[in-house]
């Protein structure tokens, strides 16, 4: 097997994708933080319950022999979960905000999402089947919306979260019209 040696454009540096032009709304940080706080709060509650059950509030210490060293330190579990949750709630939304970007030009929808792991998605408008806008209750509170772009393939369907409502509505309408005009029967 040989390595890829592309002739490329004759440039000195390898080709790479530039980031999409537009950021999402800054309020999206608040949205992600609230979501994360709720989720991790629930998780640490469950962990606390599980630890209490293993420890045996009714006197019977379960899994004592089975878990050995871990069994003695079962109360670490809710503490660790809560700590991770706190870090995630503070850190991840900001990180996510720095990564999330979108752009529509040359009839291609180009998005970058994720935080720890990143995903770049290129979907030509001509292959779009449906465009939906959605608002959860947190998004409604903050005046944000999510655009969902669906193609024939699950892997080619993308979601841009954290857009201001008016931007999302205009973008969805524009994309739907353009997709209707350009639609080809590739699928």
């Amino acid at each position: 097997m040989r390595r890829t040696q592309e002739p490329g454009g004759g440039t000195s540096h390898p080709p790479r994708l530039r980031p999409p032009a537009h950021r999402v709304a800054r309020r999206a940080i608040a949205q992600w933080a609230i979501e994360s706080a709720l989720l991790w709060g629930l998780a640490s509650g469950l962990a606390w319950g599980a630890a209490a059950w293993v420890d045996g509030w009714d006197g019977a210490r379960r899994w004592d022999g089975l878990l050995g060293w871990l069994g003695q330190r079962v109360w670490w579990l809710p503490v660790v979960v809560a700590a991770v949750g706190a870090v995630m709630t503070v850190l991840a939304p900001v990180w996510r905000y720095r990564v999330h970007r979108w752009e529509v030009s040359a009839d291609v929808v180009y998005t970058r999402t994720g935080w720890f792991n990143r995903e770049w998605l290129l979907v030509p408008v001509s292959r779009i089947q449906t465009v939906d806008t959605e608002q959860g209750w947190i998004e409604r509170m903050l005046g944000l919306a999510t655009i969902e772009i669906n193609t024939a393939s699950h892997a080619g369907s993308s979601e841009v979260a954290g857009l201001p409502v008016d931007v999302a509505a205009r973008l969805a309408e524009r994309l739907a019209h353009r997709a209707h005009d350009l639609r080809d029967d590739a699928t």
């Binding site: 097997m1 080709p15 994708l17 871990l70 290129l122 080619g156």
Partner: protein, 490 residues
């Protein structure tokens, strides 16, 4: 819905008339229940005479027959110029209209009872939005007529011209010996035996034959057998497995023929249940070559088709169940085009990643087991992790991608290696994925989104810039506007 008014006029005026299923249909429908009940009844007579439960089953049988006859009498189908209508009016009325231009495939099959009565089942597949229809059952001639009418749009119903068939590939009996190489057929006999025993047990239980004492006495007898007999029985089963798998394979894939007829690729197979699947050529987006290490050693590969809007693609899209690689490549070339070669390997950084990913889960488990004070379990996990090393290395060796200007291909996997070949035009989008670890190694995973098969063709752990270049080569218009060489920009 203008169906009722339009219907009453057109039915009298022109060709479209409502047709019934074949009268023998209810026989076929009842045969299965009949067989099961007859077996149970015979057993009932032998064991304890006619019990009340037995009368109940007889009544059930009669009721079943009445339902079958009523279903037959109230179901009609009508073929219009633009649609196929299925009407059923047993309990409530329902009309299902399948637009003819949505029909993506017509699949004719016959189980043993159908085959004996010269009947066939017609499955009409109309993609996700058109739903699907089943005609169970019509005569074989009618099935063939419907298939021609519904797929070949130019054929007139008065003179069903048989379009010429061109055989693309045909299975050789010699290939049946490849069956044990694929794990699925090794287990088929067990699955069949299991479901048979399960049915028998349930029937016996319903009729009251299975009592606690009987079960206990049987298990006591089994336990009481000498060890040698048990070992011999186990050895027999192990020896029988490959033989049984060949038999099962032959049953399913007897005379497997792939041929081409008026714009469709048709696969016909089966000994007892004869199955015909026609795949419309213009919906065929690519093919998939799959194998496992044993098949790889023997040079055998399975070929499947990637078709848009085909339900149950794993079974119905099958083009060759097991064939020598050159034959499969040849067929792939005939239905799609040549497979791009040679494959370009992925950067060496991907090797370490494959090995880590193969060994990390068992190692993590081992650490947990150690913490929990279970050294024996930890040792097992470490052994598994050691086995993961060659697996990871092989996974790296199998990674590859290529394009030849019209089709692209990506390959990955070891225990189940898949090579997907897809037309460039079938790509509906690109997704590039990069984890934090991949970023440190300069790798990324490029996924070609395709509206056929399972929707994604991932090229795992490509070089970061190779991924972009690869996508840009296939669809320059989509990628070029977003290219940027500036190393400072991120």
């Amino acid at each position: 819905m203008n169906a009722p008014s339009a219907d009453s006029r057109t039915v009298r005026a022109a060709r479209p008339r409502a047709a019934r299923l074949h009268p023998l249909t209810f026989v076929v429908g009842a045969v299965r229940e009949l067989l099961a009940l007859l077996a149970a009844g015979a057993a009932g007579l032998v064991v304890g005479g006619l019990s009340t439960a037995f009368y109940f089953t007889l009544a059930g049988l009669a009721f079943g027959l009445v339902v079958h006859v009523a279903t037959w009498a109230t179901f009609t189908y009508t073929l219009y110029d633009d649609r196929l209508e299925l009407r059923r009016s047993l309990i409530g009325r329902s009309v299902k209209a399948i637009p003819r231009d949505r029909i993506r495939g017509v699949d004719v099959s016959a189980a043993l009872p159908h085959w004996l009565l010269r009947l066939a089942i017609v499955h009409i597949d109309a993609g996700a939005d058109g739903g699907e229809g089943v005609l169970n059952a019509v005569s074989r001639q009618e099935a063939e007529r419907l298939r021609l009418l519904l797929t070949g749009r130019t054929v007139s119903p008065e003179e069903p011209v048989r379009a010429p068939e061109r055989v693309l590939a045909r299975i050789r009996p010699r290939w049946f010996v490849y069956a044990p190489l694929s794990g699925a057929y090794l287990l088929t006999p067990f699955a069949v035996a299991g479901s048979f025993l399960g049915t028998l047990y349930n029937l016996g239980d319903d009729l009251g034959f299975i009592t606690r004492e009987r079960v206990e006495s049987v298990s006591h007898d089994v336990v009481g057998l000498p060890t040698a007999a048990v070992v011999a029985a186990a050895a027999m089963v192990v020896l029988a497995m490959p033989v049984m798998s060949v038999v099962a394979f032959a049953l399913f894939n007897w005379d497997f023929t792939v041929y081409e007829r008026d714009g469709s690729v048709v696969a016909r197979r089966g000994l007892v249940t004869r199955r015909t699947v026609s795949l419309e050529r213009r919906r065929l987006r690519g093919v998939e070559l799959a194998d496992n290490p044993f098949e790889r050693a023997a040079g055998v590969v399975r070929l499947g088709a990637l078709v848009t809007g085909l339900g149950d693609a794993a079974h119905r899209g099958r083009l060759l169940p097991a064939a020598p690689r050159p034959v499969a490549a040849d067929l792939a070339q005939r239905v799609l085009g040549s497979v791009p070669a040679p494959l370009v390997g992925h950067p060496p950084a991907a090797r370490g990643r494959r090995v880590v990913r193969a060994t990390a889960p068992p190692l993590g488990l081992a650490a947990l087991a150690l913490l929990a004070g279970r050294p024996a379990v930890a040792c097992c996990c470490v052994a598994l992790a050691l086995l993961g090393v060659p697996l990871g290395l092989d996974r790296y060796r199998q990674l590859g991608h290529a394009t030849d200007g019209a089709r692209l291909t990506v390959r990955s996997g070891s225990l189940r290696r898949r090579q997907v070949v897809v037309e460039h035009g079938a790509v509906v989008g690109w997704r590039i994925r990069q984890t934090l670890f991949q970023r440190r190694l300069g790798l990324s995973t490029l996924v070609a989104a395709v509206g056929a098969g399972d929707g994604a063709c991932p090229a795992v752990d490509m070089g970061q810039s190779d991924a972009v270049t690869f996508a840009a080569r296939i669809t320059p218009d989509w990628v070029a506007p977003f290219l940027d060489g500036g190393p400072g920009d991120r």
